[in-house]
């Protein structure tokens, strides 16, 4: 948990006051909609199909229980009783009235929450591993670096009007749970041959209509140079990124047009001119930020306590859930628990106000008052004593967030799609609902093993379809919804863009196609523990294509 101080609180109060003034100027007409647009976007306010939408940042995916209760309050007081967790460690409220937005923001600011820079052409919420500081495979807490960057890039006077949005992700573990390769800037903390911990820096990742994985431009960056290097990247992007065409304005296009090597050289030259100036990180500054991350006072506990072992034997449902949703913690006797926000037949990532309040109570009782939000649109209780798992399961099951489908075919990532979004060409949520219905039999889903299905309702790819093991992209053809299917994508440390299997299929066929692909996989895999993604890698797209289109 990160402790805010008076500076953080003052800044949020000043931001709310500024936004209140901007809304007032909009309501009187002093600002026209075009002028207001960039200002509201920089506060996370979109104009959607039906209403204004408010996007709230959950920096590096860490939430305190009081913040979760505040989100529940906003959902009840200003929205329709629920919120939607996104793929970028944000939460969205879809039904907020413009005139009430400043009040909602003031309420959120009381709990250290805000929508600053969650949209618009600026540096967005900086994301990281939802298992930060608890994962056994991590070398240090990546949130310290995310927080340093967050502060430096908040209301940055030079980089608040970039050509397009700019997303940064940080990972510090051997397994990448933050999908860093699909970000404008990727930072991977690792230990080099000399034993120093620093960053491998990539640029130009991103999905949308021209998907790219980030290219490494700096194999090792010392910690002291993080801010100056990021400043150099952003300065080049601000000056030379394209502004003539919104679809070519992301840094990935600049990197692609210049070539990663040349872009890297230009960054290096700019960086050398500023690296020893005011941005060189003082160890005292790093230590000060690190010291404000507070860690639980863990008990000394043993792994696999008798209560857990007995409960697993006695209760098959519990055992299934533990196997699926509970992961190893770096501290003995504790566990990382994933809460599935993907109940069968429901919109992925949605959470009701009542669920939020209940989760806040559960974490206060069992997980040191902390909650994490991951890019797969699920929540995490990061520090649950293993002995308490049976009680935690009952509590989570009672509010519908213990579906044991984490990482399985029904744990679908989906954007809001045509049900909410003004950009969408096709529905995404109903497709996800239909697929999760088809695979509602958990034995079938478990038999398929790890299988990520990602769905986007338009080419902007908010549902990350390019990096789904099965990717589904909604397009519009002559007024009808069609869906392109890709397979073989992944967003982890072996990131890869998926390959198209053939012509787009109509809405009514999508779930059938996913079933065909799943069936083909079961027949093609060499042994039962060969994952779908590995089978695709081994046999290629062709056998799946044949299967899907043989009867179509």
């Amino acid at each position: 948990m990160y402790l805010y101080d008076d500076f953080d609180r003052t800044l949020l109060a000043e931001r709310v006051a500024e936004f209140r003034g901007q809304v007032a100027r909009r309501l009187t007409g002093e600002l026209n909609e075009d002028e207001f647009k960039s200002l509201r976007l920089m506060n996370g306010v979109y104009l959607q199909l039906h209403a204004y939408m408010l996007r709230i940042a959950i920096p590096y995916g860490t939430l305190a229980s009081d913040q979760m209760r505040k989100l529940a309050h906003v959902a009840r007081r200003y929205d329709r009783g629920y919120g939607h967790f996104t793929t970028r460690q944000n939460i969205q409220f879809n039904w907020i009235k413009l005139a009430e937005l400043p009040d909602a923001m003031a309420d959120l600011a009381d709990s250290r929450l805000h929508g600053m820079q969650t949209s618009g052409n600026c540096v967005r919420n900086i994301t990281t591993d939802q298992w930060a500081a608890v994962a056994p495979d991590e070398i240090e807490d990546p949130r310290v670096w995310a927080e340093l960057l967050r502060q430096h890039l908040t209301l940055h006077p030079e980089f608040s009007f970039l050509p397009r949005k700019f997303k940064i992700a940080v990972s510090a573990a051997s397994h990448d749970r933050a999908a860093i390769a699909i970000h404008d800037l990727s930072l991977r903390l690792y230990r080099n041959g000399a034993g120093e911990v620093g960053f491998e820096v990539g640029v130009g990742g991103g999905l949308g209509r021209t998907p790219f994985l980030a290219k490494i431009i700096k194999p090792f960056l010392a910690k002291r140079d993080l801010l100056s290097y990021v400043e150099a990247v952003l300065r080049l992007y601000n000056q030379y990124g394209r502004r003539d065409n919104i679809y070519k304005a992301r840094i990935k296009i600049l990197v692609h047009e210049l070539g990663a090597e040349r872009f890297g050289r230009e960054v290096e030259a700019e960086w050398r001119s500023i690296k020893d100036g005011a941005l060189a990180l003082d160890p005292a500054v790093i230590a000060e930020i690190a010291a404000r991350f507070r860690y639980p006072d863990y008990e000394r506990l043993a792994d696999s306590p008798p209560a857990l072992v007995a409960a697993r034997k006695a209760d098959a449902r519990f055992a299934t859930w533990v196997h699926n949703a509970v992961a190893n913690h770096k501290v003995p006797g504790y566990a990382i628990v994933t809460l599935s926000l993907k109940p069968v037949g429901k919109p992925p990532g949605d959470c009701t106000a009542d669920q939020m309040d209940a989760i806040a109570d559960i974490t206060d009782r069992y997980s040191f008052g902390e909650i994490r939000v991951g890019h797969e649109q699920n929540l995490v209780l990061p520090h649950v004593p293993q002995r308490d798992l049976p009680e935690v399961f009952r509590a989570l099951d009672a509010i519908g967030v213990a579906t044991p489908n984490v990482g399985l075919v029904s744990d679908i990532i989906a954007c809001p799609g045509l049900d909410y979004c003004s950009l969408a060409n096709a529905r995404a949520i109903p497709v996800a609902q239909e697929i999760s219905q088809r695979f509602r039999d958990l034995d079938v889903a478990r038999g398929l093993g790890r299988l990520h299905v990602n769905i986007s309702g338009c080419i902007n790819a908010c549902g990350h379809h390019h990096v789904g093991h099965i990717g589904i992209l909604g397009v519009e053809k002559n007024g009808e919804e069609f869906y392109q299917i890709t397979i073989g994508g992944r967003a982890d440390e072996k990131a890869q863009l998926g390959a198209l299997i053939g012509p787009a299929v109509p809405y009514d066929d999508v779930a059938d196609v996913v079933e065909d692909i799943a069936q083909a996989y079961l027949e093609l895999r060499q042994q039962s523990d060969e994952l779908f993604i590995d089978t695709v890698k081994r046999v290629g797209v062709e056998p799946f294509k044949e299967r899907v289109y043989a009867t179509r």
């Binding site: 500076f7 002028e35 908040t154 006077p157 009007f161 000056q239 030259a269 500023i274 100036g277």
Partner: protein, 177 residues
């Protein structure tokens, strides 16, 4: 379009001279980038102040040899969401040490004032009179600053770690590679 300097609406003492029009014998003038570079030696001889309006898609490195003879550089915001001139301003102030007037022109709204000040601008051609009147208030909108920039404001990191205040602007110097 009102001009704001030192927090107040003031009269513009510079005359903007279009390309092809004769440059008046006397008085401060602002000319285009092309005209200035073409006649740089001539302008260097001029007694009265010379300013240049510099487009946001041209490197300010071209201006470096002329900076001591320029009284003013006007940088352009064709739309307020086009932020290229913020980078130009910081490079002019913090890398090249430009000390003359740095003027923001184009679509300049009150919501940008503080960003502009922090990037090194000290004069503002403001699009709306109401925004010009609200300058002082907008410039004081925030009291918390995270980035060390050329305006020399104390950053939060420095206050938190109890480091001595810097009164001189923070300058980032070019170092040889």
């Amino acid at each position: 379009m009102p001009l704001v300097r030192s927090g107040k609406v003031v009269e513009d003492r510079f005359v903007r001279v279009a390309d092809g029009e004769p440059v008046p014998e006397q008085g401060p003038v602002i000319v285009s980038a092309d005209r200035f570079l073409a006649d740089a030696d001539e302008f260097a001889q001029r007694q009265d102040a010379v300013g240049v309006i510099w487009p946001n898609n041209r490197s300010v490195a071209e201006l470096e040899p002329h900076l001591t003879r320029l009284a003013l550089i006007a940088l352009v915001f064709p739309a307020y969401k086009d932020g290229r001139a913020y980078s130009q301003a910081r490079v002019l102030r913090e890398r090249y040490g430009f000390r003359g007037e740095l003027r923001a022109t184009g679509q300049v709204l009150r919501d940008q004032f503080l960003f502009l000040i922090r990037a090194g601008f000290d004069a503002f051609e403001v699009a709306k009179p109401a925004d010009a009147a609200a300058f002082e208030e907008a410039a004081r909108r925030y009291s918390v600053f995270f980035q060390p920039t050329g305006d020399g404001r104390m950053t939060v990191a420095r206050v938190r770690t109890g480091r001595a205040s810097r009164t001189a602007p923070v300058r980032s110097e070019r170092v040889s590679a």
